[in-house]
Symmetry: C2
């Protein structure tokens, strides 16, 4: 993409309304703009990152055997009356009347709707287990939306729902999601720690939050330091094998959010040097809640003995849009964002130090064409701007690599390649730079 044709309105100054660094940087880097309180438009740069995060989540859900579908944003109030949550959900639920005065709502989550879809179609244990997920916009009418996309009102969530015949099978479904979450967050460059958590308005018997550590986190968390650097299961993970050992390796170590924290147990279980108390950001939350929805909604299946039983369910959420904020909180410096390559909006920022100079333009055009053809995503700053503005702009938006091309270097047959994360710079031939970037 040539910057002269793009829509990337960066800001030099810190916007007054942004209290945390990710919100400031997303506004300054031209990724989002607020359109109403807690509601954002995703400008092209932000949209690209959103799509990449969504795709990583999708791939890891599919790998774990979940099946994608798509439920609508608006739901009928009737279903929520059947589960009993219509009245209990409170003012965070956005309630709507249509032209025929039917009561609707903008879905804050989808337990009721997916249970309804399931109960209409599935009647036998032979069609179990199933895990159905979607990636769809949700709305929660926060009383004080803040921190940009971290606590917005309209937000993109991946929510999955598992259906099993009995509790043992449901626990296996839960374990698959546990592993899938570790893998997805790790692929985004995040160290996410699963922590025992409260179940809140979803309800249920077992729950883990996936937390990344950041000073600006909203929750206080406590854990064994060993968990922070424990690597996620690799590509060799076999979802059909017994996942219990991998899960227990983590859950046997202390990790809890504020609400679940037990100071005495923390001190008893964790050696002093390993005790970590920190702020954390929730990026995922998984629940096992048995028959909490299947029973009131009548989602029954015939078991092997022919008798109908309510299905055992769990639900599994990832805050897709919130993850952009979380990744930036975890990965930035004073100059701007530092994107992990897996979610970067472009891999390379190509900087033309003298737009209008025929040789430099030609060298840049060739690099741009070669890299693009090889499938490398390049943002080419071809604008007639001074070099300083181009450098600081690229640092701000945080692409992993900057490829700097100017008349002086070209005379010596070199271009400069800078790695954003380390600041390392290297002079090399254009061909060598291409080779390195195509990798």
């Amino acid at each position: 993409m040539r910057l002269s044709n793009y829509f990337l309105p960066t800001l030099k100054e810190n916007p007054a309304e942004a209290q945390i660094v990710s919100h400031r940087l997303m506004l300054r880097a031209g990724m989002i703009r607020q359109t109403s309180a807690g509601i954002y438009a995703w400008l092209p740069l932000g949209h690209r990152v959103l799509k990449k995060i969504e795709q990583i989540v999708r791939e890891e859900m599919d790998r774990a055997g979940a099946i994608e579908l798509l439920m609508p944003t608006l739901q009928s109030a009737d279903l929520w009356r059947q589960s009993g949550r219509y009245d209990s959900y409170g003012k965070e639920m956005l309630r709507i009347q249509d032209r025929h005065e039917r009561e609707m709502l903008y879905g804050p989550t989808n337990e009721e709707m997916i249970t309804d879809i399931f109960r209409r179609e599935v009647k036998s244990y032979r069609d179990l287990p199933r895990n159905l997920y979607h990636i769809q916009w949700k709305f929660r009418d926060e009383i004080r939306p803040r921190f940009g996309v971290m606590r917005g009102r309209e937000f993109l969530m991946k929510d999955a729902y598992s259906f099993d015949l009995d509790e043992a099978a449901a626990r296996r479904s839960y374990q698959k999601m546990f592993i899938s979450y570790l893998r997805a967050f790790s692929r985004m460059g995040l160290k996410a720690i699963p922590m025992a958590a409260d179940t809140g308005p979803i309800g249920g018997d077992m729950s883990h939050e996936f937390i990344i550590l950041a000073e600006t986190g909203e929750s206080e968390v406590f854990c064994d330091r060993t968990l922070v650097d424990m690597p996620a299961p690799g590509d060799e993970v076999d979802y059909e094998a017994d996942l219990t050992p991998v899960i227990e390796q983590r859950t046997s170590l202390y990790a809890a959010t504020d609400e679940k924290h037990d100071a005495a147990k923390f001190e008893a279980d964790v050696p002093e040097g390993n005790r970590l108390s920190a702020r954390g950001i929730e990026v995922g939350h998984i629940f096992f809640f048995g028959t909490k929805y299947s029973e009131p909604l009548g989602a029954l299946v015939a078991g092997p003995d022919g008798k109908d039983v309510p299905v055992q369910m769990g639900s599994y959420g990832i805050g897709v849009s919130r993850l952009l904020g979380a990744i930036i909180e975890a990965s930035h410096d004073e100059d701007g964002i530092i994107w992990p390559e897996s979610v970067a909006p472009f891999k390379v920022g190509l900087i033309n130090l003298k737009s209008g100079d025929a040789d430099t333009d030609a060298a840049c055009a060739k690099l741009y064409a070669t890299l693009t053809k090889a499938g490398v995503e390049v943002l080419y700053d071809d604008r007639d701007e001074r070099a300083g503005a181009k450098f600081s702009g690229m640092d701000l938006i945080g692409l992993p690599w900057q490829l700097v091309v100017g008349p002086r270097g070209l005379k010596n047959g070199v271009v400069e390649l800078k790695e954003r994360a380390t600041g390392n710079r290297e002079e090399l031939s254009a061909d060598a730079a291409v080779k390195k970037l195509i990798g």
Copy 2:
């Protein structure tokens, strides 16, 4: 995907509520389920087609130089007051009050919001032209939603908005979209005819609807028959060249929807044998409306002479979710859907004629693995069902190819390959079938 692990609830009987064939077939093929009046959940099979159509639209928008972003579903009423449409839009607009009693609405379209985003960021003619688009759910509170996804209330639309300094440039932007639409629909296997159309609530001076012919179409249309089979511009199309000749080749021939129809002109311009009057389905609509929104909303840019002028705008919509219905209306037979390969949910349906038979299972497993590894999307019917049910199920869901494997054929070293569109069957070795499908 193995059908035994999938979620594909097909129906044997025609659902009573469905009046047109696409609605019937989408329900029967397990693609959608209604969750409220005119609101649908997209089950896995339907979701896959939706994503493919979306991707074709995206690629053709990008190719034409448009830039993707994403605006939220909910909008503030204030902006619509500035354009004057808040009161005029009527009951089709779903109006919402949030917990602070702020007036919001579920966007039926985005002229106001994109103009607001644009006016905040762009101040100079040097940043023009721009074409910004998004693919997002919209809501129109139809008084009588019907025909499934063809006239639903919550629907997925691609809407693009162009910004130019003057009318001549704006017409070029309009022409690019015109070409891009011809290409996108053609890639989906549709013959879409651009027709002079009314501008309706969007307003403006120039407008074309893209219509496909189908008996169940809601509009009556009139055109020169020559247009029906005129091929879309190919990959060689150069969006920077003068597009006028390509556009005039079409617009010089008579084509109009009911509201714009001029019977006398039709008879005068079109030779009798070429006069076609038929029913049509609108799948796209493009508008040029100059300063209709930029003026009231104050979207001004400084021209080369330093004077501020309101930008010249157009908007360009494609009904992404509606297209599933339109494609089915155009491509089905008495047995079910016939998907064009470009939008098919899977390319191949692999039918195991004797699940449980060790040799047949092994042959199928090998074919499934080989094709999947080669990037061919396969739906493998591995269920313990009789052959007849498997055949009719595959015909119903309409995958382009059926690969049939049974013990008798295997003894003779052959499998059967059936092309859904023609019904042609061919016996060949498994290797030859693989080669043909990977092709």
